[in-house]
């Protein structure tokens, strides 16, 4: 039996473009199921494009100068007194300082309480037959290792384009996404930050529409002039 784990190309894909104009510093397609990381300089803007629609991009952020200072779900939620991320949300560190700000967002809300998938938690959530499904924790560990980071550096993360409602009685979980091909979120770096993204390989719940697809990451520098090539 052939198992299809992801869709790499499709007619409905929409690669869109940067949300904030500026010189393109970086433009990369994160293949389905894979990880990506880079240092994003202060003042530049990272646009993440949901190319195939409802594709979760699990994201961790570290202060580039000292990675013990890293994205913190609690500090971010407390700062805005809200459980969901929207345009204007400031992504805070565990030291209570801003790392990035959401300066553009084309879905109703973004998730940061659902956490990342792992082979280990998959066994709890879906049964031991899922033990060998690739997972975000694997991507985080491999990408992190390129920057000297390990399991001790993995903390609760952001899930771009994932939908995790909390009901009145506290019931929470992952339901169908509110995104679509070409939808974007844009993050301005408030300091030099290391951004690690796992293009989520999960195929046991709706976070990727049961079909992992690519993500496009574009970093633009609004302070630099836009070249003719970029303006096309």
């Amino acid at each position: 039996m052939t198992v299809t784990w992801a869709t790499y190309e499709a007619d409905y894909f929409d690669y869109s473009g940067p949300m904030v104009p500026g010189a393109v510093v970086l433009d990369h397609e994160i293949a389905p199921r894979s990880g990506w990381s880079a240092v994003v300089s202060a003042g530049t803007v990272l646009t993440l494009v949901d190319v195939g629609g409802n594709q979760s991009g699990d994201c961790l952020i570290y202060a580039a100068a000292d990675t013990t200072e890293r994205y913190s779900v609690p500090d971010t939620l407390v700062a805005q007194r809200n459980a969901y991320l929207v345009e204007g949300s400031v992504l805070m560190s565990n030291e209570g300082r801003p790392l990035m700000t959401i300066v553009g967002n084309e879905v109703e809300r973004q998730d940061t309480i659902g956490g990342a998938c792992s082979k280990e938690s998959n066994t709890l959530r879906y049964g031991h037959h899922t033990r060998f499904h690739h997972a975000c924790r694997e991507n985080f560990l491999l990408e992190g290792a390129r920057h000297g980071l390990g399991a001790r550096d993995l903390v609760s993360n952001i899930n771009w384009f994932m939908n995790v409602p909390v009901e009145a009685d506290g019931t929470l979980g992952i339901v169908d996404g509110m995104s679509a091909p070409g939808k974007r979120v844009a993050l301005r770096a408030e300091r030099d930050v290391l951004v690690v993204i796992s293009n989520c390989p999960q195929v046991n719940n709706p976070c990727n529409d049961f079909n992992p697809t690519p993500l496009r990451v574009i970093v633009t520098d609004p302070s630099a002039s836009v070249s003719e090539t970029d303006r096309r």
């Binding site: 309480i113 956490g115 709890l124 929470l172």
Partner: protein
């Protein structure tokens, strides 16, 4: 109780003999925040618990912090004695500190954001570190974490561990350091005794304290290292820094088993305990 001698209450300490006599004379002082040794001598031993089984008895100041490494099957009781304690807790596998509390999994796997009796505290490795076995408070929070130095400086003027208004994170850093752990080893912590609820629009609503005298019991499902900071919750609406003592008793008891309702409370939980059992059996831990 003997009155606290306090700062500056010096006796005659000009010679070593005098200094030693002075030091020895301080030994019997009793204060509000202190450990009780042996633990069986605790003046506040929980009713119904065989005192010979108590392994840890302590009143943590408000604010204050403590930490311990405990055997599998230890039952840990936190008490909010005066109504304004907030126990910020991080739990690790004592044998492998890289395995530690993962709050996202702790909420996501049981499909429940609010912690209460029967809720497992899950590691990122798909196992149960500890179980919330009993809860007379029901006001807890697994979303908001601890206060930071930066936040406390803004709000109270200071947040250093040595200040009168220490940040929860600064206290957890010290607790971590005492167990050989550093800043990398501190994931988001869970808070007991101060409640937060999520409104339909995502707003975080403060539900606060259940009042004085409430308790939460945890059962260590494997050998664990536990860090505890007692400091105000980040959303505490009180203008002043409000923190009262946290009492801790831990005693030798039984790990969870299939006799406990939470063991098979859902298929996810059953598999979490199965994973834990498999790990412990392979590791030679009974």
């Amino acid at each position: 109780m003997i009155e606290d001698l306090g700062a500056g209450r010096r006796a005659r300490t000009r010679t070593l003999a005098e200094a030693r006599a002075d030091a020895h004379a301080r030994a019997d002082v009793r204060v509000e925040a202190m450990p009780y040794l042996p633990a069986s001598s605790s003046p506040y031993a929980p009713v119904g618990v065989d005192t010979s089984r108590i392994v840890w008895a302590e009143t943590v100041g408000g604010p204050g912090y403590t930490h311990a490494t405990l055997a599998r099957g230890t039952r840990i009781r936190f008490e909010d004695t005066d109504g304004h304690a907030c126990a910020h807790v991080v739990v690790f596998n004592a044998d492998r500190h890289g395995e530690r509390l993962n709050l996202a999994d702790t909420q996501k796997v049981p499909w429940q954001a609010y912690l209460g009796a029967g809720h497992p505290l899950l590691s990122g490795d798909g196992r149960v570190l500890a179980t919330v076995a009993a809860d007379t408070s029901t006001r807890h929070d697994a979303l908001c974490g601890v206060t930071t130095l930066a936040a406390n400086r803004r709000r109270y003027g200071a947040g250093e561990a040595h200040s009168a208004t220490p940040a929860g994170r600064e206290l957890l850093r010290l607790a971590a350091a005492k167990e050989g752990l550093g800043a990398r080893d501190l994931p988001p912590s869970v808070s007991f005794f101060k409640g937060v609820r999520v409104e339909p629009d995502g707003a975080l609503e403060w539900t606060g304290s259940a009042g004085p005298g409430v308790t939460v019991d945890l059962i260590a499902e494997m050998p664990i290292t536990i860090l505890v900071a007692n400091a105000p919750h980040p959303l505490d609406p009180e203008d002043s820094y409000r923190s009262t003592p946290l009492r801790i008793h831990a005693w030798t008891a039984e790990p969870s088993s299939d006799r406990d309702p939470w063991w098979s409370g859902s298929p996810e939980r059953a598999r979490a305990y199965a994973n834990t059992q498999q790990y412990l059996t392979a590791r030679g831990i009974r």
